[in-house]
Amino acid sequence: MKGNRRGALLGLPMTLWTAVFVGIVLLYLLALSFFTPTGEGYGVQPGFTLENYRRLLSPAYLQVLGKSLLLAFYTTLICLGLGYPFGYCMARAGRRWRGILMLLVIVPFWTNALVRIYGWKILLMGNGPVNDLLMALHLTDKPLKLLNTYGAVLLGMVYALIPFMILPVYSSVEKMDWSLVAAARDMGAGPMRAFVTVTLPLTAPGAMAGVVLTFVPAIGLFFISDLLGGATDMYVGNLVRDQMLKAKDLPFAAAVSVVLLILTLLILRLYRRFGGDSGDMTLF
């Protein structure tokens, strides 16, 4: 097939790019996870050992993994609870409001995420604006401990990831055929019933894409728990970083990364199994 060959040729740069910058790197990561650290700097001893994975199965590390998954779960749940109504309203709003809301979602992307989380750190400090406000309103008489709490971490996570929920929900609600809702109303369904039986199932793919897009990064984010949680809790992201930069144990860090990667693939697999389409994940 001539057309096919031309297509393959046109796709060659892309294929090469992916092979070099993704494929080879991942293969190296996988290989690294079976090596042994020499203990001198970042040195590694090539070979094949499952020791790194065995270490990962110890209760302490499994707990880290479990905590990470739980945090990701809560984050996703809150993102869904807030992001779905937001995305829905954005899609149903008039042209003017839609533009304003869209801007609110997108503008934060123009600033470095780390900087924005530092912003939260300042807001939540003991003598920060949030506490000042609470005291001015006489809701509390002494500053509350807001920073370095689980709540602060959750807040930061939701803050960072909610656009990834809002945008796919928005695009699925925007594509809704509203004559279907009119039909449901005509058939005797009240507004709530029509929403639950028609709008919700038809926009679920967007919400599902949002769940994947928030859950997957939520497992690995580490700087938010560092900055807002006071680095007292260890999550998988922190673990990888610490093993790399502090313990200089590249093979173990690689093993943790591989496990995270497999987890991500499993989630995507699950997503497809339930009828998810990667097209729904297109954000812009």
Partner: protein, 354 residues
């Protein structure tokens, strides 16, 4: 008491007035069609009846009670939507049973009713099929089955055949008309297709720029149009601008380019008025110059087009305008372009409008 009564409906969208003082009655078991070009306000009218749009003024009565305060789900009527609006995430059975479930029917009753409805639209055995696995005509049938399943006295249909090809459309016209007779319920049907309207309706309302231009049986609409719009919109015609010379009990005398033409008596005309004679293409005959006719005008044949069952002539009258004449091809005299001819018609079968 009429089943449905629209009283002086008004509707604006921004600065455009979509409905002006629209009043209409639909009797029980009647097939009423709102016919008009796109943008005439017919879909807006339907949406107001269904409760999906609020009018700015006027009232909608169902069995004598105003429905304006009721949300769509509380109105005892159902709608067949343009493009069907079948729920894509539900199979045929669930689509048809959607309203039945909300009415609180038991599973057994629902199944029986769904089976009955699918039989009605000849779609038995399609219960488990998803809408995207159905053809356009099949979706249409399911949409109708879903809308009649609750058993209301009034069904609204919004251009239900618009998306189908011509052959299927003809077939569905007959089926929908048959269905309406069988169910004995009233249909308020919306279309821009005059053939559909003429074929199916008990009464047709011609809607033009939000106004009810004319309301009548298909025969009245075709034979006695009361306005220029109605005359031009229905059928293929040529309108000849004339002046009324005299009005008698038997008929009127008109003048066209210095020639007297007899015309049938039409209410509202007085001597001196401007009038348009509505020459339906198939009611004009192409005659030889010396032939006798009650009403005729001389001219020259411009073209002759043979189209199987019929022949289409274009005659340029000596006074200027062109008249189209469509005659059965059987027994056709086969005039040739350039020949002198007369365009003749029967004044009693020819409408005069303003």
């Amino acid at each position: 008491m009429a089943l449905l009564e629209l009283q002086n409906l008004q509707k604006h969208f921004g600065k455009t007035q979509v409905l002006r003082d629209l009043s209409l009655q639909v009797e029980e078991g009647q097939f009423v069609t709102l016919l008009g070009p796109s943008g005439c306000g017919k879909t807006t009218t339907l949406r107001i009846v269904a409760g999906l749009t609020d009018p700015d003024g006027g009232d909608v009565l169902l069995e004598g009670r105003s429905m304006l305060r009721l949300p769509p789900e509380k109105r005892e009527l159902n709608t067949v939507f343009q493009n069907y609006a079948l729920f894509p995430h539900m199979n045929v059975e669930k689509n048809v049973a959607y309203a039945l479930r909300l009415m609180g029917m038991s599973a057994r009753q629902r199944a029986a009713r769904v089976a009955e409805m699918l039989k009605l639209v000849q779609m038995e055995g399609y219960e488990k099929r998803m809408p995207d696995k159905l053809s356009g005509g099949q979706r249409q049938r399911i949409a109708i089955a879903r809308a009649v399943a609750p058993g209301r006295k009034l069904l609204l249909l919004d251009e239900p055949l618009g998306a189908l090809d011509l052959k299927l459309r003809r077939q569905m016209q007959e089926e929908i008309k048959g269905l309406q007779k069988e169910l004995g319920i009233a249909f308020l049907y919306i279309t821009h297709d005059q053939e559909e309207a003429l074929n199916m309706s008990d009464r047709i309302g011609i809607l033009h720029e939000g106004r009810l231009e004319q309301l009548g049986t298909p025969e009245e609409i075709y034979e006695r149009p009361t306005s220029r719009f109605a005359a031009e919109f229905i059928g293929q015609s040529t309108l000849l601008p004339c002046r009324v010379l005299a009005v008698g009990t038997e008929g009127m005398t008109l003048e066209f380019a210095g020639q007297k033409l007899p015309a049938r008596a039409t209410a509202g005309f007085r001597a001196g008025d401007e009038a348009l004679v509505c020459l339906r293409n198939e009611r004009v005959a192409c005659l030889s110059p010396e032939a006798a006719a009650e009403a005729s005008l001389p001219g020259t044949l411009v073209s002759r087009h043979y189209a199987g069952g019929s022949v289409r002539y274009v005659i340029e009258l000596d006074a200027g305008p062109r008249v189209v004449c469509v005659a059965p091809s059987a027994g056709d005299a086969a005039f040739r372009p350039g020949q002198r001819v007369r365009a003749g018609w029967n004044p009693r079968e020819t409408a005069v409008v303003r």
